[in-house]
Symmetry: C2
């Protein structure tokens, strides 16, 4: 047995890089999308790919891309598998490109604050390497130790410190990629350029549909001189969001600003819960004198906005536990279907979306939790990060209940004037809602780009672009 593509790939890049052993195939059938885990548990497992290709160089990637395109075989780029939107689901006819084997640090440049990595580099490792030089990438997704730098770019990620340090598009200096036609792209030569459309943005967020990201160079920061914490209670979510708006629009920029509704405060910080109050936590970083000025400025605004000080140790508690999560299986085996859904909206729309979405979730079959926090702040608005948990009586309804929760949040957000995808990407779970964000014109342009770059559609089919 064995598909002819296996031998063709082996001839192109060497048999050792073309894995067909069961363990390797099993492990990379899908990413960390909860619905794929549910499918596994309920006897609908995603099939194994034809093979898993483990490139060692850009030349290997070029050869794999060309081979798959020429042979009409779907190619699915796979970083470290931490995506949560179904950006990777295997197919028995597809080849999986395991970028974890391209994981070199190319250079760390302390003068120009640049660090360059192969796309498969683990994010936490990359951060620790630059930290040895007193530097930071400043990108702290919850998955930082489980995700790759190429995955950050491909999914257009944002980390927990994005309010101060920006999202991935604000940190990326250059992107290396192999396009579907096998051409090699190095996009981003200078600190800034007015040299036509910014080609890095064709790859950022494309989720493997426009090519394979093979390398990422970051514009770093020096580790901050001072770090300080503040925390406040707000009587309502709306009042707390309004205070955050005033703070950031006044020219202060805490690197972290998060606000938990009462449900999440009681669930995550029971020792710090305060009646029905929302809890706001902030981290302030930078030169010591700037941090001191910001602390005074933020406290003054908090007082004017009638926030109450909260015990500041809650911030350290968040920081220490922020990336510790139960695995999906703990919930699924208990019959609970859970997920998080992040959206964003302008300031005057966000409280309405919070209200409408959490109310709508209450009508879901078996709903147990429908809560939210904010975690990424902009001058123009803020995100919300919804958490839902439902326990339908019949476990066979879990998929339907899951899709119902997503539909309610996406449609409530769109109707309320928000954007349906803040920082996890589109994958499969959102692709039928993306038109709310892009409009007919945007969808048409996205299809035009895809058709131009990948006319046969072999690069990660089924992701990002709506089916019809």
């Amino acid at each position: 047995m064995g598909s002819p593509i296996i031998e063709t790939l082996a001839a192109a890049i060497g048999a050792a890089k073309v894995r067909t052993d069961d363990a390797t195939l099993q492990e990379r059938r899908h990413d960390y999308w909860v619905l794929s885990h549910l499918d596994d548990l309920q006897g609908r497992p995603a099939p194994k790919p034809v093979c898993v290709v483990q490139p060692k160089s850009v030349d290997d990637v070029v050869a794999v891309v060309n081979t798959c395109r020429e042979n009409g075989v779907a190619l699915i780029p796979f970083g470290l598998g931490s995506g949560v939107c179904g950006g990777v689901v295997s197919h028995p006819d597809s080849v999986l490109l395991d970028m974890s084997t391209m994981n070199r640090t190319r250079y760390i440049d302390e003068t120009n604050l640049l660090a360059s990595f192969d796309a498969g580099k683990n994010g936490g490792e990359a951060e620790r390497e630059v930290a040895k030089h007193g530097l930071t990438i400043g990108h702290w997704p919850q998955s930082v130790d489980l995700s790759s730098v190429g995955g950050w770019v491909s999914t257009r990620a944002a980390g927990q410190f994005s309010t101060g340090y920006g999202s991935i598009e604000d940190m990326v200096y250059s992107v290396d990629a192999v396009l579907p036609n096998g051409e090699v792209l190095h996009a981003g030569k200078a600190p800034r350029a007015a040299a036509g459309p910014d080609l890095r943005h064709i790859l950022m967020g494309a989720e493997g549909t426009m090519g394979v990201v093979t390398g990422v160079t970051f514009a770093l920061r020096r580790a901050p001189e001072r770090c300080a914490h503040t925390a406040f209670y707000a009587k309502t979510m709306e009042a707390g969001l309004e205070a955050q708006r005033v703070i950031v629009q006044s020219g202060w920029l805490p690197v972290v600003m998060r606000q938990y509704d009462a449900a999440e405060t009681h669930r995550n910080f029971p020792d710090h819960a305060h009646g029905d109050d929302a809890l706001i936590i902030m981290i302030h970083e930078g030169p010591a004198a700037k941090v001191e000025a910001e602390l005074a400025g933020v406290r003054e605004i908090a007082e004017i906005m009638e926030l109450d000080p909260a015990p500041v140790d809650v911030v350290a508690k968040w920081f220490e536990g922020r990336n510790h999560l139960h695995s999906w299986e703990v919930y699924l085996e208990n019959g609970d279907i859970v997920d998080t859904v992040e959206i964003s909206a302008p300031w005057d729309k966000i409280a309405g979306i919070y209200r409408d979405a959490t109310q709508s979730l209450q009508r879901v079959n078996g709903i147990l939790v429908g809560s939210a926090h904010s975690s990424h702040v902009y001058r123009t608005g803020v995100n919300l990060y919804f958490t839902f948990k439902a326990h339908p009586e019949n476990p066979e309804d879990m998929t339907e209940v899951y899709n119902d929760c997503w539909r309610r949040i996406a449609e409530t957000t769109a109707a309320g004037g928000g954007g349906i995808a803040h920082h996890h990407g589109i994958g499969r779970v959102r692709k039928n809602y993306i038109a709310h964000d892009l409009g007919d014109g945007g969808i048409a342009l996205l299809r035009t780009l895809k058709q131009a770059l990948d006319p046969t559609g072999f690069m990660n089919p089924g992701v990002l672009i709506p089916d019809v």
Copy 2:
């Protein structure tokens, strides 16, 4: 007489919007590229377009785009004509789309810090309108009163306050456009999105080759509480650039940081010139306490880096005179060919590029001035803004001398590891150097995009994309 396209356009959008009077055609034969002015003076004037179309609505633009495409007639979008790279040069067979007639303010939203304008809105007017609400766009190109907000997007502009407030891509919330196929695009629904490639970046910097920008919505800032000035002398350009590097990498972010070499200091600020020193000027804006902290931080670094304080009134002098320029004709009629050329590079490459480019300019026929200042600072590097002035003995050599200056700066920059286009765009003057920035892969991708969006190539032909 009259081309059939005139009647077809008149039928599509009304004859009053299709101008054929000589004054209107004459005025819009080209933008503010000095070579077009030289051509005018030396008897090689750019021809008039077939007609100038003055749309009043997006529907008008759609009709014009469709009409030109269907009739195989080139369409040249024209903002307010302040471009300096030859992005607009007319042709007797082309239709010119005068966006200045679409100049409404759509809304100013003080809560979400958004302001939305038709693309033809004058930049200075837009800024003054938001200023009435205590807000600022924060984009201050030298051409602010001569340029349109759509032009800012189409050329990927950066203003004088970019170090603190970012370049156009950091300020644009959404872009409205009519694509070459007549589809309407509204790109940018939310404060931030991970919803595929960022489609705004297809239009930003495309210089009219990928469609017509019809509207721009900005993410504003509140007017700062405090503004302060500092100024320093550096013994050499290299020492001053190094001090700037330390300041910005320490986490301080003066909204303006500029550094003039000795030649430009003597020319622009004769009362403040100090031997062969370079002159650094900075503006600090924000909440008062943050500005105070920054002033102390910057002065401390300046002392460590052995900069000498300069009389601070030089900053006000710069600010007041910053947008006053002689017209090209003053120079050209004197037989002087002049221009400015902006590039950028990582910190450790910029001093070498400064040295090599200014030295190379000394070898140009009739060179009088080859100087530079820096004006836009990033964590990873900085720009340089070269000025050249040459007086070749034979006025017929002015074009050749001009091209020689550009070639020397572009090639020296590329060889030295910099990017050849910082914020004026590509137009015609740089299109044969853009491959230095984009590489073969980038040029191929740019051509792929152009072919996909505009297969007949009718949108602003001859600009941005290299001829061969």
